[in-house]
Amino acid sequence: MDFNTVSDIVRLAWLAGASCFVIGLMRMNSPATARNGNLLSAGGMAVAIAATAILLFARPTADGSVNGTGWVIIVIGVLVGGGAGLYSARTVKMTAMPQLVSLFNAVGGGAAALIAIDDYLGLKAAPDPQINVATVLDIVIGSITFSGSLIASGKLQGLIAGKPIMIPAGRIVTVALAVVTVVGAIFLWAGNLSVPVMLIILAAALIFGVTMVLPIGGADMPVVISLLNSFTGTAVAMAGFVLGNDVLIIAGALVGASGAILTKLMADAMNRSVLNIMIGGFGGGEGTQTAVGAGGSVRAIGADDVAIQLAYAQNVIVVPGYGLAVAQAQHAVRELAELLEDRGVDVKYAIHPVAGRMPGHMNVLLAEANVPYPQLREMDDINPEFDRCDVALVVGANDVTNPAARRPGSPVSGMPILDVDHAKSIVVIKRSMGRGYAGIDNELYTNPKTGMLFADAKDGLAALTAAVKAL
């Protein structure tokens, strides 16, 4: 078989791989076919990579020899990277998933940037301007997503303070970096071949990624990760232009589009623009503590009282939030819910689109605990049911339940919320009167219908389960 035939077959294999990515994403529409869709996508990836290996092996080189060092690099890289990826993906706790996804996003963007850097270093003369545009864009976008995703991951992991970090004159620094990047890019696009200028752009883009994400509060990280995911896709598509490779362009553009849509959906759910989030500085971050009872009287309630309310209710709606994720209380809540269901109580879960740290974060956690997904109800679907609900059990959720959002003049104003205050009775499990990321008091807590069970989510739920069993 001559090389042209091999090359044609490999291109068809890439086309098949790209088709698998599209169909795989389509199958992720429904929970029933989602896993299958992901496996199809992974299969397409395996085919594309194997085909590439065959192409590289069959390709005639200038002097007819095999580049042994090149193969050693590939094998070592695949073993090291694959091992690290496999180990971290299999051992990560479900609650730490967002930062791991962000880390994978960082290395993907880093790889895309490295391709353009390597390409640029190998240039003998200024390239075709159109390719040059792609090279510079790849370096800029890939570097921003690399450093930005690492910071986002660090914030979620708690390595970097989750609260917005304001750099002195931060805006000016960020704008200055952007100007340096743009001026440098135009200089290169004008047909100048200059490695030092490329390195300056690289450095400016890396620092820009850091200064862009640092001022954003930990709770806005889902939107940031989603945006950076979209950036990586775009960077990979640019790498495809640099190398003249269609499969990189298709897959990169797919991810760029998906990340953009997802980012918009998440920002919409918070009733904020993406720009507003990226400007940052919103709220005081987590852990802002105030004394119990600040701004109104709060009614504390004991586990035994709550257990009686729950056990004799008809309808109970559980409202999970980030506190549930932090306390790893997903199994505890499922245990309590099953116990109540055995007693004939109808239990549902109300999932706010931005509860937790990633869109769908709560769904994943509860699914891990074997909560059947038909019980997980989205906001618009469940809100009318709060009127008929006997007890709303809020576990570690805060701002997404704050009725202040319905009035203008509050940082959360206009954000769609769960109508928890419509329930006949409300129980909030919370460690303290600490504020949510919006940094404001939650009027729900001072509602006369609300009882506060001050406990860690897991301990509180365990106490409730024990108390219901004892009835």
């Binding site: 790889a111 362009i249 298709i250 997802l262 959906l265």
Partner: protein
């Protein structure tokens, strides 16, 4: 503009439109797995990393491409495995115990 670049641009724009069409239908429940799944798809950058690795002749290129291959593989492998871990939890009701009981009964009978 060269014909190659023009066709690459065509593919790029159409792929973006396909991405919009496919993604906008996904329910919020699956947004996290979707983000993670899309994240693994851009691990296709491994294909590009392999190209630069095989063409690397000087030390700088070899080091850059080694890091690129390792990064990209981590993205691919980790991304798909972690997405699969999330998705395998989306089950209707735990049916496994019942099947086990059934086979146990059959074995006894």
């Amino acid at each position: 503009m060269s014909p190659e670049l023009l066709s690459a641009l065509t593919v790029f724009v159409l792929a973006i439109l396909v991405g919009f069409a496919v993604i906008s239908k996904v329910p919020a429940t699956l947004h996290t797995p979707l983000m993670s799944g899309a994240n693994s798809i851009h691990g296709i950058v491994l294909v590009g990393s392999m190209f630069i690795a095989i063409e690397a002749t000087d030390l700088a290129s070899q080091l850059l491409s080694l890091v690129a291959v390792a990064f990209a593989t981590m993205n691919v492998v980790g991304g798909y495995v972690v997405t699969d871990r999330m998705l395998q939890m989306f089950k209707k009701k735990p049916v496994a115990p019942k099947t086990v009981d059934l086979t146990a009964e059959q074995a006894e009978g």
